[in-house]
């Protein structure tokens, strides 16, 4: 493992504007979403919706979106139901795009000739770009962690929540985004130059999201859900024994490791064509 500081800092600089915009957007969405919590609680609006939730059909659908009556009345339950989906969707989207671009862009914009003829190995290029990717991944998740905690503290009112559960949930989101990054990086090796990776990225994220939703609504499709990374994020934050489960962690870390390793192997031998 050898990181080239020059590439690393170049990469951080090159993507920082879009990174800041995503950070601000996600933070704003978290705060805005949580701002509704006190309103819901005060006006007894949720209680008026009891009948709605007791309908078995609606219950099924709402649970597919991770929402239940109990979950909504608890501040952390509300946080995870309200924010988990778009944190994961937006975060996953940001990192599949970032990773999909970080290596392939050199070829798309034909700057690979410049880079590869410098005194560095292919591995060093991948390590340096991965280092930049992980820097952004950790930073965005720290931002989410802080904004999340802040929003919980500001809007919890009389309610209380388990800090551990919050941290575990945030860690799942981190692993989830890392996995989508690994998928994006791996895919970018195969995409012909000039074709945007954006469409495919949207397709993959939305596709796996709907597979997950479908599998939750339809009991017979339950098994199919396991092809979607969404399935492996545990959102039942209110469970008393909620915690990190090894098989979920193994899934995310395993997929990422395999895809990152394959990226090294393939990129080392890849012909950079004109």
């Amino acid at each position: 493992m050898k990181i080239n500081r020059n590439i690393y800092s170049h990469e951080l600089k090159y993507n920082r504007t879009s990174f800041f915009i995503w950070c601000i957007s996600i933070s704003a969405l978290i705060l805005l979403g949580m701002a509704f919590y006190p309103v819901l609680m005060e006006g007894d609006m949720l209680k008026q919706m009891t009948a709605f939730f007791e309908n078995p059909f609606m219950e099924g659908i709402m649970s597919a979106f991770g929402v239940s009556m109990d979950a909504l009345t608890n501040v952390l339950g509300y946080y995870s139901a309200r924010n988990a989906i778009f944190i994961m969707l937006l975060g996953g989207f940001f990192f599949i795009l970032l990773a999909g671009k970080i290596l392939a862009q050199e070829e798309h914009e034909k700057t690979a000739d410049f880079l590869i003829t410098k005194p560095i190995t292919r591995s060093e290029i991948v390590w340096s770009k991965l280092a930049a990717f992980f820097t952004y991944l950790v930073l965005l998740n720290i931002v989410i962690l802080i904004t999340g905690l802040l929003s919980l503290e500001i809007f919890k009112g009389d309610n209380s929540y388990s800090l551990t559960s919050f941290l575990v949930h945030t860690l799942y989101a981190f692993l989830f985004m890392m996995t989508f990054g690994a998928i994006g990086l791996f895919l970018s090796l195969w995409i012909k130059r000039g074709r945007p990776i954006t469409n495919i990225s949207i397709g993959i994220i939305m596709g796996s999201y709907f597979i997950d939703v479908l599998s939750k609504i339809t009991p017979s499709l339950d098994k199919i859900g396991y092809i979607s990374p969404f399935k492996f994020v545990d959102s039942t934050v209110l469970r008393p024994d909620y915690g990190l489960e090894w098989w979920r962690v193994l899934y995310f870390v395993g997929i990422s490791l395999v895809l990152f390793s394959l990226t090294f192997v393939i990129y080392k031998k890849k012909d950079i064509l004109i």
């Binding site: 020059n6 003829t117 190995t121």
Partner: protein, 299 residues
Amino acid sequence: MNVIQTRNLTKYYGKDRGIIDLNLEIESGEIFGFIGPNGAGKSTTIRTLLGLIFPTSGSGTIFGLDIVKQTKEIKKQVGYMPSDVNYYHKMDVHELLQYSADFYDKDYDSRIEELAETFALDLNRKILDLSSGNKKKVTILQSLIHRPKLLILDEPTTGLDPLMRAKFFDILRKENSRGTTIFFSSHTLSEVQKLCRRVGIIKEGRIIAVEDIESLRKKQLRIIQVEFSHPVGHDEIDCPGVIALEAEQNILNFMFSGEMDSLVKALAGKEIKDLIVEEPTLEEIFMHYYGEEPEEKRG
């Protein structure tokens, strides 16, 4: 020791031919012209040497280092000018050159300033706003900053005006006199003939000749035009060494590679109004020997 040496270097793109059994030997300190039409395999050769693509079979060394396994060591001492220029759009010229220089161990700030001055290049302009000629200048600078021992140039003069080209050639001569070996790829022989001592000619992926410029020039080939006082046909002259004979009314045009004495004697009995004997350009010699007219230079 040869600076560049390849042994049966072969590259196929799937089924498409890149280069076949390429054997090159570039000596230390020389300027080597690498000539061939578009699509002959010039860029494939260069890209294989630089580790951008990987050989299908065969091997190569630069400074005795393997082009596949020791590419990082090689590149510390190599400067490369690609034929197409593409840089990070968001950067300005100085940022790009600084980024480039930072890959090498030494500090090259003053070198950047000095080269920019020589080429009258504004360091503060955005890459995106540069004309193609100016982009080319950036490429020149970028390949020279770290004082490489080997320069690999892939059609480097495209887009340069004559003045800049002259300056560029001066710089190349200066670098060469410091001991830098130069590998100069081009599709026109006339462009490199003043600079190079030797040329390699590549056609359809194979090296068909490596020639000394001087000996190429010394080949006794002449372009001859004879004007007779009467209309003539192809049978007017009978002499070994007459090539590519064309008759047009009173005039015969041909190339001649035989004994001048026998030509003069063959013409002696005829009524001749005019006789022109010319030394052919290298381009014409090239065309004659290798049956391939190098394409016209682009822009």
